[in-house]
């Protein structure tokens, strides 16, 4: 049953969309939406949508309650507790509205706000799986698909029209023209064919703030690419002087203290691609985050060599994000920029602080690769 409220509801959703768009940069730099993600939905806190009126300020007003307690005791309930925790909800009148938004919708909003181009099809999404569904009826077809009921109905119609049907002896005999067959439609669906390989430097110089930035970036990259590809896989590699594959949780929470050999990660990444993701079938997106402090120039040269000969030819895009840390020299990004100035598959981005995340996302995803 369609409800009358649907129209009003969809206009409300539009307003919500607008609000999210308005506040998107804030959500991104504060990392507010991470941890609010369910399977397909993100619960977005938006400032209350309210109709302003002449009304009293809440603080001066106070009120009347019922229950135990001495003078000076805090009043229970949302207001008291919210304010007890410090900053959250300073003003008790400021109720926050939680709205559920699908990831697709969120990606669309991100795309609109950052003006991200859709990713151009490189012909790799041609790998499809076909699915047949019976959708209609036609006059020709194999006997195995004959629609018994329809066929007899046609026969009955013909006989009644021709006056040969006798109600007292209701025998219906179909002739070939009466035969009806099921017909089908083939739905073609592209199969999962994109993979993101996240690599992160977890050496001692990467602090919590740097990791938080990586976490926020990866959330939005995931969201965007998920909306662009039907299926998306993510793999995670951490490295200091050696690299290893970990799960998502470990990825964001590990801290090592060793030195940094970036090439170790690139080698593992390459192995991963060669073993599991043949480039002819997969859209491959490696992203590497580091503070740009590599062990030696030798290792940097190894990296460059790997990129040039092995990695870049196979991937859609290779993203390198450099976060600023008090310990890192930040040399690596300079080297890359110098050596790959003409290579548009390699995208580099410097992320100084959380406010720079928005621009960095735009740099990574703005090329439509």
């Amino acid at each position: 049953m369609s409800l009358k409220i649907d129209q009003d509801h969809s206009r409300f959703r539009n307003i919500v969309r607008g609000k999210i768009r308005q506040n998107l940069r804030k959500y991104i730099s504060h990392g507010e939406l991470i941890g609010r993600k369910g399977k397909d939905l993100v619960s977005v806190p938006i400032p209350q949508i309210d109709i302003p009126r002449f009304r009293f300020g809440d603080r001066q007003q106070g009120g009347v309650g019922q229950g135990d307690g001495e003078v000076g005791d805090p009043v229970g309930g949302d207001d008291g507790q919210e304010n007890g925790q410090g900053k959250a909800g300073q003003d008790p009148g400021e109720h926050v509205l939680e709205v559920d938004v699908t990831l697709d919708e969120l990606a669309a909003i991100l795309g609109e706000e950052l003006e991200l181009p859709d990713i151009q099809d490189k012909g790799k999404s041609k790998i499809t799986s076909a699915k047949d569904r019976y959708t209609g009826i036609r006059r020709v077809g194999p006997e195995s698909l004959r629609h018994f009921k329809r066929t007899y109905r046609e026969a009955l119609k013909r006989m009644i029209a021709a006056g040969t049907f006798r109600p007292d002896r209701p025998i219906v005999v179909p002739v070939p023209d009466d035969k009806r067959y099921r017909s089908w439609k083939t739905d073609v669906e592209p199969v999962a064919n994109a993979v993101i390989i996240y690599m992160m430097d977890v050496s001692g110089s990467m602090g919590d703030e740097q990791k938080e930035i990586v976490r926020i970036e990866s959330f939005w990259i995931d969201t965007w690419l998920k909306a662009q590809y039907k299926g998306l896989e993510s793999r995670y590699i951490i490295h200091d002087a050696v690299a290893r594959e970990v799960d998502r949780d470990t990825f964001f929470h590990t801290r090592e203290s060793g030195g940094t050999m970036i090439s170790s990660a690139y080698k593992l990444c390459l192995k991963m691609i060669e073993d599991d993701y043949p480039w002819s079938e997969w859209n491959i997106y490696p992203f590497h985050f580091s503070d740009g402090d590599n062990w030696s120039m030798d290792d940097t040269l190894t990296c460059v060599e790997l990129l040039k000969t092995k990695l870049l030819p196979q991937v859609n895009m290779f993203g390198y994000g450099q976060v600023e840390s008090p310990y890192g020299s930040g040399q690596f990004i300079k080297d890359l920029r110098e050596l790959f100035s003409k290579e548009d598959r390699l995208v580099t981005s410097e992320i100084r602080d959380k406010d720079a995340i928005v621009n960095s996302i735009k740099e990574f995803l703005g090329k439509g690769k």
Binding site: I5, Q7, R53, F56, G57, G63, Q66
Partner: protein
Amino acid sequence: MTEFALKTSLPQYLRAEQQKIESIARSYGLDFFPIIFEILTYDQMNEIAAYGGFPNRYPHWRFGMEYEQLAKSYEYGLSKIYEMVINSNPSYAYLLEGNSLVDQKLVMAHVCGHVDFFKNNFTFRSTDLDATGRIDPVRKVEGYDPNRRWIDKMANHGARIRRATERHGIQKVEEFIDHCLSLENLIDPWGPFLGRHKESPEEEPGEIEVPRLRSKDYMESFINPEEYIEEQRRKIEEEREREKRFPERPERDVLMFLLNHAPLERWERDVLAVIREEAYYFFPQMQTKIMNEGWAVFWHSKIMTERVLDASEIIDYADHNAGVLATSQGRLNPYKLGVELFRHIEDRWNKGQFGREWEECDSLEAKKHWDLRLGLGRRKIFEVRALYSDVTFIDEFLTPEFCREHKLFSFAWSNRNERYEIDSREFRQIKEKLLFQLTNAGNPFIYVEDANFENRGELLLKHEHQGVDLRADYAKETLRSLVRIWKRPVSVATIVEGKPTIVRYDGREHTSRSGKSSG
């Protein structure tokens, strides 16, 4: 006649229950409009609730927001709406499909209480569509059967606004509705009872003629001395000066004033009129929240426990009833406060605990055992339900004993601890706080002071400050809406942190300056 708005009539077994409960309610003296129950699925229920109980309203996004919140909290199992009843004649009430029979019976009994209140409480007289001129709040007509076909009325409002949206686009109309809703609370709840809003006929004032006493020529200077005549002349002049002001005296029905005097297009006027009428419709419910809920609880518990329930149902009933009356985390529950006060009143009048002798008695001991066996309780509460609103109800019947017994307290914001704290358990303070919250249904008093402010055709509103400031950000946004309607700058004279302030919006920016209210 369409008997059912939604064509979801009651199954036979519930109809039998309805008849039984209604006849019990009548035997107690409740007097209600005919009640039509409909049974709804939960999404229908949420939809209707989002529309404030009406199957057809005008289109507006906030109903959608309401729906989303209701639907979500239902899906997450946080809350569900048991019942809804609307003030109309006949009254419509909704039952949730799939509720247990005990719940349905409880709701029916509860609804009888509400509808009796709608019919008999004086504040709801202003929702009679056939009332003309000044409404007498007290006089009761024999066989009172007013026209309150608000279902149709609201549906018509919907049609009127939809017509406007077809012509001018939903975006434009909805935006205008937003502005109107911003001003929704600027009405005069007592207007319908006072017969205000009569425009005085325009009349060109002539020469000032001071009326003289008749006298013979030679006595003239004694009977009508020159100084006296002069003084009278000045008084009349002052009077005329005052009349030149527009409006002559502060106008509390700001919406009416705008309808009559703002430069609106026809469709805009139509929208504003709809919003104003609906604001007047809903206002009595805000004025009598505590009484109305208290009255309904009083009667459902009486009807259920004395006459309807059998032994197998009593536990379920008690469970749900306790849920309705629970106070959580120190919050005041209007259901609880209302019903306890009604019971308190009934008890006092049964025992004769009222009047001068009672007031003047100093002995706590004597008061404790005071029982004159008057048995006037039932009569008294019926009288109270007819003649009081929340403000007068609390003012007259909240007693120190009641406050103590029910552990009421007042709370206030503590700047030092950044939280709300219990402020006092003194009767006087509690009562003051409570009355303040209830006065004008918790809305500030705002008047149109001057429609030609500083002789520039600007609008000046006045906030009658009663100790609490306006919320600044909301006030600014509201001024925006006023400018949209008035089309000229609008100011509001108020007090901010103890200083008289005039906040002005000219369509581009807000300014505020200190100033006395009369410009």
